[in-house]
Amino acid sequence: MSEHNHYYDPADLKKFGEVGKNAKELGEKFFSWYGSVFAEGALSEREKSLIALAVAHAVQCPYCIDAYSNDALEKGANLDQMTEAVHVAAAIKGGAALVHGVQMRNIVTKKTM
């Protein structure tokens, strides 16, 4: 893929607000809820930002990784904390794959002598 011909364009991140096009009311509801989700609450803004960063890696969303790498810095997180957050995501992803090995084992146990 050439630099100018790819699915993910960093400039598209700025168009996030356009997801409300053709569905204005739903878009407004989404962004209102989104804003409330990330506001200081039982969890701090920084904790929420680190969770978002971890989830961004789990769902492998380059826009989200860009947005929440910057956001976590602006919430006072450092690279050690952000790296640990990514490891949490990786551990859950890895663990989720491995725990399915139980299913594999169940099937194989049933099918074999």
Partner: protein, 347 residues
């Protein structure tokens, strides 16, 4: 290797004209002038008075921080001459301005630094010293914590992060460790100790091209981490946004961050920060006696508005109290997000 100033490097950005050209030609969606024009403070931002009398006594410093907006360093030698010091102290002593804010470079390196502090304190001013901490660990200046305590000076010191890697990346190798030692020396005479009344303020600015974290949450982190890991205390923490000028601008350019950073500042423009930006209640005196709206304007050679007196030698506070503030695109640095000024967040 000791870092050189832009001046010593003969870097193009050592020229204030080149810095201004760079900032004026960035493709921003809106100039700062237009942004202010769209607020209740438009069309022209004006001062509300002079409550802070800030003087920049010189470029000489024992450190050479990567982001320094003054381009200060050990290779710089320019310091405020005697006639300007004399005129500055006369104006201060004859005024009712409550706060006397001394900055540099490392202001302690000025030969008349202690006289400035003594005369400011004697005149009943709240004296503030913008101290880089490491200077207090040199033999010649080790007596300063006690001197500060005697004159009830507020010590204001930069510490960008509560760990070594963040601090040293911005301020130079070994700075964090020496800063902690200096904090211990300040704590030993009562600075940062509850009930002492001696105010020790830390200033945290981002180690990179992003906005500061919320001031209150950073203060809580710094207090917890510095106490737990190093046993040191301070009174309060303020956050300051990095201003896209001088050495920080050079780093932004070199790292390809100039446009994204400026766009971040512009997108985060917050009208609620404007009421309390420092230029509205501060006057900044340069080494040569020229007057500026703030230390950043001073470093860009943007003097006060032409309708106001231009130097300390023709001081007229009535005219300065109501002057129009000179703004350019770097001013987005003080109005982004939670705002930023010499006193920290403004919104």
């Amino acid at each position: 290797m000791t870092r050189l100033s832009l001046v010593a490097d003969r870097h193009p950005l050592a020229s204030t004209d080149e810095q201004k050209r760079r900032l004026r030609t960035l493709p921003l969606v809106k100039s700062f002038d237009d942004a202010i024009g769209g607020t209740a403070f438009g069309p022209r931002l004006r001062a509300t008075g002079v409550e802070v009398f800030q003087i920049n006594v010189g470029r000489k410093c024992n450190q050479a921080c990567h982001h320094c907006h003054v381009d200060a360093g050990p290779d710089r030698t320019e310091m405020m001459p005697d006639d300007v010091v004399d005129a500055t102290l006369r104006v201060l002593e004859g005024s009712s301005i409550p706060t006397f804010d001394i900055t540099g470079g490392a202001p302690e390196l000025h030969e008349r630094f202690e006289e400035m502090v003594e005369r400011g304190a004697r005149a009943g001013k709240q004296v503030m010293d913008r101290c880089n901490l490491t200077i207090l660990r040199t033999q010649r200046y080790a007596h300063l914590p006690a001197f500060f305590a005697k004159h009830r000076v507020e010590v204001v010191s930069s510490l960008p992060y509560y760990d070594e890697s963040g601090t040293d990346a911005q301020r130079g190798d070994g700075v964090f460790e020496k800063s902690i030692e200096a904090m211990r020396a300040l704590n030993a005479v009562g600075y940062g100790v509850e009930g002492s009344g001696l105010v020790f303020t830390l200033v945290a600015n981002p180690v990179g091209a992003f906005l500061p974290a919320p001031q209150k949450s950073m203060e809580a982190d710094f207090k917890r981490q510095l106490k737990r890991k190093h046993g040191v205390e301070f009174t309060r923490l303020i956050t300051i946004t990095n201003m896209p000028i001088s050495r920080y601008l050079e780093w932004l350019d070199r790292s390809g961050n100039t446009e994204p950073y400026m766009n971040r500042l512009v997108s985060a423009f917050n009208p609620a920060t404007v009421a309390a930006v420092m230029c509205r209640n501060t006057i900044s005196v340069g080494m040569d006696g020229r007057l500026f709206d703030c230390d950043f304007n001073q470093m860009l050679d943007l003097g006060v508005h032409a309708a106001a007196p231009q130097t300390i030698f023709d001081w007229d506070q009535r005219l300065l109290d109501q002057r129009e503030i000179v703004v350019e695109n770097h001013c987005y640095g003080c109005t982004a997000g939670q705002g930023s000024s010499c006193g920290g967040a403004t919104a």
